[in-house]
Amino acid sequence: MRRVDGELILWWTLPAALIIWIAAFLLFPGFNPPMSPVMSADQVAAFYRDPAHLPEIRYSMIVFNWFGVCLVPILALIAMQIRRMAHRTPIFSYAMLGCAAGGPTLFLIANVCWLLAAFRPERSPELTQLLNDFAWVTFTILVPYLIGQSVILALAIYLDDQPRPVFHRWVAHFNLLVAAALVPAAFVGLSLSGPLAWDGVLSFWVKNGAIVAWIVVMGGVLGQAIHRQRGEQSRTDAGRVPA
């Protein structure tokens, strides 16, 4: 088995992870619709004390805890593709690896806060609200490394000077667009209502939509790039046989 075949196995974890993520997203009652930041402490406590919500919160967050880090192997595969680009230094692949664990780590902090709030729903409503605030702010503001990896990848593609670049230019433009769509979520602390609030158009829908779009599009072009690499290697191997 060649190295690149192993990479394909890693790549196939993405569609599986995506289905699991979407299922967990739909199961968590706080996402459908997103909880309002203007809920009082008592309303937040009532949300966690609701017997119908409690198992949904726990099971969805346990699933997210299991599979949240599934993005890391995909970012490692992208770093491998960056290494195939015509660069003089490994700066971009290093930077990509530097970003890889940041997003999942921040997500896990949010995840733990949601699970903590659900662990003892009888806790005082103010404490439950604090955990809920911490979870939502962290979940919304986890964009730094996602912005970073999109911009780094875009720059790496722009500087990939070769007749058949690893990724097309439009992939770089797309990554910059995704990075721009993620920026407003960084300002979630400015308001409890409106588009920047954690349930707002920019901080929730645009941000999470951009993440899903990035996963789908990058999954597609990454799969193509790995297949192409596999084809090139097969031809090279076939060329060696007659000798």
Partner: protein, 258 residues
């Protein structure tokens, strides 16, 4: 990579464009420029926009802590919004420093260790502080005891995240001292030791609420900040000179890595 001569006669904008297209060191200059931009935003955000540095006193009563948050209810979410938008730049900074170790006559393990440790460091050492302070300003009517908990959490996670910077700096130091390629002068290796030692003297902030060793004290904060400032300027200059000396020539790119 067509011309060996830098077109000094061109106007600035076209000269910049030429460098973006043709300069063999463009990846390194891009990373170095990112480093400069990041620190030029980082310090003003912490000292001017959010005004969370110099740090407030750990010994303040709850009413004063609440008042402190109230005075920053706009600056904190705005300034830290900027930090969260650009914090990905730290990955490029760390990549450039890891690259400096790749240029040395030491094992790749040094650069990789530094990259991993410093990538990890941003979460407890920077981003958690920002999140705790944003949550602190989110609801002014929150129970002051909870705001006080966020206040301690923020400043202690920021100042009290020590090991990542301690070990990270020591790894860079060791690489510089072992290096035979003379990528950096030896004195810069010892300056890394000074930076590492600041992480030792800051540790009493977990114990003392007043005095020179508290999180806002003359030793735990002021002395450390001076060393960090000198260290930051020094490594920005050192990396600049490393890139200047780097000689990739002007020939074609190296063969693709399969």
């Amino acid at each position: 990579m067509t011309s060996a001569v830098t077109p000094r006669a061109l106007p600035l904008r076209r000269r910049l464009l030429w460098h973006c297209r043709n300069n063999p060191k463009r990846e390194l200059w891009l990373a170095w420029g990112t480093l400069v931009v990041f620190y030029n935003v980082f310090f003003p955000v912490f000292f001017v926009v959010t005004r969370v540095q110099p740090p407030p006193q750990p010994a303040w009563d709850l009413a004063t802590q609440v008042q402190w948050f109230h005075e920053r209810h706009l600056g904190i979410p705005l300034g830290f919004g900027i930090i969260f938008a650009i914090a990905g730049m730290t990955a490029v900074n760390n990549a450039l420093i890891a690259y400096s170790m790749r240029r040395m006559s030491v094992s790749r393990a040094f650069g990789y260790s530094y990259l991993l440790i410093y990538s990890l460091s941003a979460v407890p050492g920077l981003l958690l502080l920002c999140i705790a302070l944003i949550v602190g300003t989110l609801r002014p009517q929150r129970d002051p005891r909870l705001i006080g908990w966020l206040y301690d959490f923020a400043f202690l996670s920021f100042d009290g995240t020590m090991g990542v910077f301690l070990i990270g700096s020591l790894i860079w130091m060791l690489a510089i001292l072992l290096d035979k390629n003379r990528v950096f002068p030896k004195w810069f290796g010892y300056l890394n030791l000074c930076n590492a030692l600041t992480e030792v003297v800051v540790s009493p902030c977990w114990i003392f609420r007043r005095g020179v060793l508290a999180w806002n004290g003359q030793i735990a904060w002021w002395l450390d900040m001076v060393v960090f400032g000198v260290y930051t300027v020094a490594f920005i200059v050192m990396l600049f000179r490393m890139i200047q000396r780097e000689d990739f020539g002007t020939g074609p790119l190296p063969a693709r890595v399969a």
